[in-house]
Symmetry: C2
């Protein structure tokens, strides 16, 4: 494992998603790996940590998540702008070499079944909590976070350090039509 | 209505939330108004637009949403940093003058039952889609967006203009312990 990757305590895992970044969903089933980008992922609970993610019926990743019952949510960086857009706009069905074309490098986090995307800032390994009505009616999937890791160059001691890290580490926040915003300036409310 | 506020076509309403800002939830029931901040809100569908928001059982706002079946999700600005933190950390039960103390000014959007918070950048009027299991098991509420508006100084023609607007208009993205990040630089992926 990359020497910069460190485990994040589960009770602080929500912080990896709390600022609403666009994310990458990765999954593996029956020897097939896939990765897609999604803007509609959100923390759902603190302990045990849970999250929601919307997976359209047209996506191949959804079938892998349903088949395997596990997935990884990871936070891509500004350096991965093109990769993120590419895996969000191309389908594995239409483009079998989608991952290679997008420049995705996969690695295995110890003890995690689904593949992880190298170069991200954070990874949340999830176990699907089956909710057939939500999945069918809303494309809404709930995961329990069973492991969390981050790159210590931008998240350490339970906090993001975007303001000190190189701007290439900033999270991406998608709007539409290829337009993202990077996360910006730190602002501290008076307690 | 403030002359800068303009309706947003419902098919573009998802863009108001797509970048994952922390939001304010407002609701009214039986003559009681309340506003709370939440980081766990997310777009759920395009057409008709839907969203999810997590409302803890301890919040007064949740009871107002359950009672009235309507609520407004609005996007606060960097200028509202202290207001946002205040309505996210104080409860109406413990502090009956919570809204006045936080500096919240409410107004009515025409045709919307729930009150709106002045000074925000965008407003999404929602009708609760009752899902008792999600509400009880996960504190997860689903709303259909029935009206959307934005302040044209920062969102117009279906797009955010954070990069041209004054920085005080930037959206807020909460982490923990009073630490927010403002949204940052625009990044365009090559198509």
């Amino acid at each position: 494992m990359d020497s910069h990757i460190a485990a994040v305590p589960l009770e602080k895992a929500y912080r990896l998603l709390n600022h609403g970044p666009s994310i990458l969903v990765s999954a593996r089933h029956d020897g097939i790996d896939n990765v897609m980008a999604a803007a509609w992922a959100c923390a759902l609970d603190f302990a045990p940590p849970k999250l929601t993610v919307v997976l359209d019926k047209a996506t191949r990743t959804r079938a892998l998540v349903e088949g395997s019952g596990t997935f990884v949510i990871q936070v891509p960086t500004a350096a991965q702008l093109q990769l993120t857009h590419a895996v969000g706009t191309h389908s594995l069905d239409a483009q079998p070499d989608k991952l290679a074309r997008a420049g995705v490098q996969l690695f295995q986090m110890e003890g995690v079944e689904a593949p992880c995307v190298a170069g991200c800032s954070a990874w949340l390994a999830c176990r699907l909590i089956p909710e057939p009505h939500n999945q069918a009616a809303y494309d809404l999937f709930i995961g329990e976070v069973v492991g969390a890791w981050a790159d210590t160059r931008v998240f350490r001691d339970g906090h993001w350090h975007f303001e000190e890290a190189d701007p290439s580490w900033r999270s991406l926040h998608y709007i539409a039509g290829g337009r993202f915003y990077a996360i910006g300036e730190a602002l501290d409310a008076q307690q």
